[in-house]
């Protein structure tokens, strides 16, 4: 076991995967010689050479379109979009092409690609470096969408994503790259070195897609979260003293509804968290599913704590971010219901 940040874990996943399968290629903006703006691909070009890890032109449609062509050939590309906010020029290639090629060719052509992208806020990135577009992927039939919340899962889930024979969107919560984040921006930064999930095997392993994790068992209320919000949920539970069960969804599509259903039926209460905007956010889907499956077990209306329906602001970042105070207030309200 080694101590790794999420960046090191993501790097390690790609390194190990590339060593196991020479059909895996890595490319994107600044990922080659430099190793990526967040350093997630550092050392890959040095180890595997420029034909396995290389810089691409600044062209997201090109990155994803080329990856689709490579997958049609038989390669297994793992590409980086520098920020999730930059994926929109490639959204046509993702939603209309990558997601549908297996379907429309009756399985003759497949798109075994992984598209990594840093997601979410918390780093003063403003409206073009802080977005959480996961709902836009979950809404597309044929894409899998994964969001880890810690280094151990990041490595195992990324290895599983790369091995998966369908296109996988791998969203990396950039606020968690260097350490867990309790949601209090004004407190000292903590590092993964002291966190149990910062312990990561150096060798190969996978964490299966489509399986949630119960990060904190509890009896009073179920919190559904993913990415950065998992840590905010833990903080809110601790600060309010409410015995919440925190479920880290890890994969939002396919969704582990079984784990959600079992928990909510037991606690009778549910709070849903995400950083993304509220209207038509993934929380709306979770809310519907909980209502459909657990209605007669609910003792209070389901609550959602999300980003506001505004562009992600710069100076007002901490007024926008759904921190422990808002999550705590929602927990209390749900407990009263």
């Amino acid at each position: 076991m080694a101590r790794m940040t999420m960046i090191e874990a993501i790097r390690s996943a790609q390194h190990v995967a590339m060593g196991r399968d020479d059909n895996i290629v890595v490319f994107g903006e600044d990922v080659g010689y430099f190793g990526g703006v967040f350093r997630c691909t550092q050392g890959l070009q040095e180890t595997y050479g420029p034909s396995r890890c290389f810089d691409s032109p600044i062209n997201e449609s090109g990155i994803i379109g080329a990856a689709i062509g490579m997958a049609a050939y038989g390669l297994r590309p793992c590409v980086e979009i520098q920020f999730a906010d930059y994926m929109y020029p490639g959204y046509d290639q993702l939603s209309q092409e990558a997601a549908r090629i297996r379907y429309r060719s009756d399985g003759d052509f497949t798109t075994q690609i992984t598209v990594r992208m840093p997601t979410g806020g918390g780093i003063y990135g403003g409206q073009t470096h802080s977005q959480s577009p996961e709902a836009l992927f979950a809404h597309v039939c044929g894409l899998k969408t994964v969001i880890p919340s810690n280094p151990y899962d990041a490595k195992g889930l990324l290895a599983a994503s790369i091995e998966d024979d369908d296109p996988v969107i791998f969203l990396e919560p950039k606020r968690l790259y260097n350490g867990p984040f309790d949601g209090h921006h004004d407190r000292p930064i903590t590092s993964w070195a002291k966190h149990s999930m910062g312990e990561v095997p150096e060798d190969y392993y996978t964490v299966p897609l489509g399986k949630a994790a119960i990060t904190r068992p509890g009896d009073e209320v179920t919190i559904l979260a993913y990415g950065t919000m998992v840590h905010v949920a833990l903080t809110a539970a601790e600060e309010t003293g409410i015995d919440a069960e925190v479920i880290d969804l890890r994969t939002i599509l396919p969704l582990d509804l079984e784990t959600i259903e079992t928990s909510v039926k037991r606690t009778g209460r549910c709070v849903i968290l995400h950083e993304a905007t509220k209207t038509c956010g993934f929380g709306a889907e979770l809310m519907s599913l909980v209502q459909e499956t657990c209605f007669y077990h609910l003792e209070a209306p389901i609550a959602r704590v999300t980003g506001w329906d505004t562009p992600y602001p710069h100076a007002q970042e901490w007024d926008y971010f759904p921190g422990p105070k808002r999550v705590g207030a929602a927990l209390k309200k749900v407990m009263e219901g």
Binding site: P57, G62, A66, R102, R104, P254
Partner: protein, 408 residues
């Protein structure tokens, strides 16, 4: 006083009611354009993006550097393939009119481009086509019956009813799954070619796009990636003058030609008479050899004319003169190759008439067989259960649940 600015919107030369006149169109003589070596640098053949490479004279003689690429037997194979494409189109177009399918796209007048190009490829190479390259599949030996089964979306539809009638797909026959979203395939072709080079393979890719779709950003993506990584790919623009009702000037803008777009990327660009089978074959062969030898990408603009409607959903008479197609100076590709072969003594009017009748009879017989499997209007259809398959490799729980809900 500064004069107020004026907004400019280009218009085609002729609209319905006008007498089309192409006498102003400067066509180089057949044989006038020299054939460069395949390792030529783009900057040394800039003129080839502004001219038109032609091999056959009006009288049916093959002349110049680009002549002689095909034997008579090979040219005859091409001629028969073109006749097959036209006969297939005619029958399927009619089937749509009879309500047996929802939609059809013919390639009338453009048969030489796909047929000649496919003949220049090798087994294992991969096309990333548009919906007007049925000639690639029909020239590759792909079963016509399977194509018809797909057009009819019947019980034997190879894509199980999920895809539009004419959007074929076959890895075995080097034909990537067609998308209705334009231009996406152009950069995918480059990606496939990059993969072939990464693996040290010898196979090449070919991308296809129409004049109108060159305006899409994926055209630019493809050109940048092809240029940067010197991908072994042939990028084909089929300039058939019309994008549904929009003339090619709307996509081309102020550039003299579409081929000239290659220059900004350092990609050799050639313009060819797309209705001259021998010229298309020779230019394609040149570009394919160039890619296979590792000299990188080539951009080809095939100059042709869409003699039919865009699809079964539009009537060209409302946006262009009825006679424009007849006045178009490049002639009919089948007639031209026929004239050449007759002139060489390898073919005759009688044999041509006989071949057309035989091929049509073959297509009609296959059509009857396909209709036994049903059409969109009647008979057997793919199972509704197919709708839920292949969204993912393994059907996830939420889809299994929805399938149960649908009673399937």
């Amino acid at each position: 006083m500064t004069k107020p600015l004026k907004f400019y919107v280009p218009e085609p030369e002729f609209r319905p009611g006008d007498q089309p006149d192409f006498s102003g169109l400067k066509l180089p003589e057949a044989g006038a354009v020299a054939r460069p070596k395949v390792n030529v640098k783009a900057e040394n053949i800039r003129d080839l993006a502004y001219t038109i490479i032609r091999v056959m004279t009006r009288e049916g003689e093959a002349v110049g550097d680009w002549a002689g690429a095909l034997s008579d037997d090979e040219a005859l194979v091409g001629l028969k393939n073109m006749i097959k494409v036209r006969a297939y189109d005619k029958r399927m177009q009619m089937a749509q009119r009879q309500g047996k399918t929802s939609f059809y796209v013919q390639c009338l007048g453009e048969e030489a481009i796909a047929c000649a190009f496919q003949q220049a490829l090798e087994k294992g190479d991969m096309n990333f086509p548009t919906y007007r390259q049925q000639g690639l599949l029909l020239s590759s030996g792909y079963p016509v019956l399977d194509m018809m089964n797909q057009v009819y979306s019947n019980s034997e539809d190879p894509l199980r009813g999920r895809q539009l009638p004419i959007m074929y797909s076959s890895k075995e026959y080097g034909f990537f799954s067609i998308s209705g979203n334009l231009a996406t395939q152009f950069i995918q072709a480059v990606g496939w070619a990059m993969a072939s080079a990464i693996k040290g393979d010898t196979k090449i890719a070919a991308g296809w796009i129409g004049d109108g779709s060159t305006a899409e950003s994926d055209f630019h993506s493809a050109m940048v990636f092809a240029s940067t990584y010197r991908a072994p790919v042939v990028l084909n623009i089929v300039n058939n003058q019309w994008a549904i009702s929009t003339f090619q000037g709307i996509a081309r803008g102020g550039a003299a030609t579409f081929a000239a777009r290659g220059h900004g990327f350092g990609i050799p660009a050639l313009r060819v008479d797309g209705n001259d089978f021998l010229a298309v074959y020779a230019v394609s062969k040149w570009a394919i050899e160039r890619a296979r030898k590792g000299y990188g990408p080539t951009l080809i603009e095939h100059v042709t004319y869409r003699a039919g409607a865009h699809s079964t959903s539009d009537d060209p008479a409302v946006y262009r003169p009825r006679k424009e197609s007849e006045e178009w100076p490049l002639g009919d590709p089948i007639e031209r190759l026929k004239t050449y072969l007759i002139k060489k003594g390898a073919w005759s009017e009688e044999r041509h008439t006989q071949a057309e009748a035989e091929i049509e009879a073959e297509i009609v017989a296959l059509q009857k067989e396909a209709e036994k499997n049903g059409t969109l209007a009647s008979g057997q259809k793919p199972s509704p259960r197919e709708m839920f398959e292949d969204v993912f490799k393994e059907t996830p729980p939420h889809l299994r649940k929805q399938r149960q809900e649908a009673g399937l």
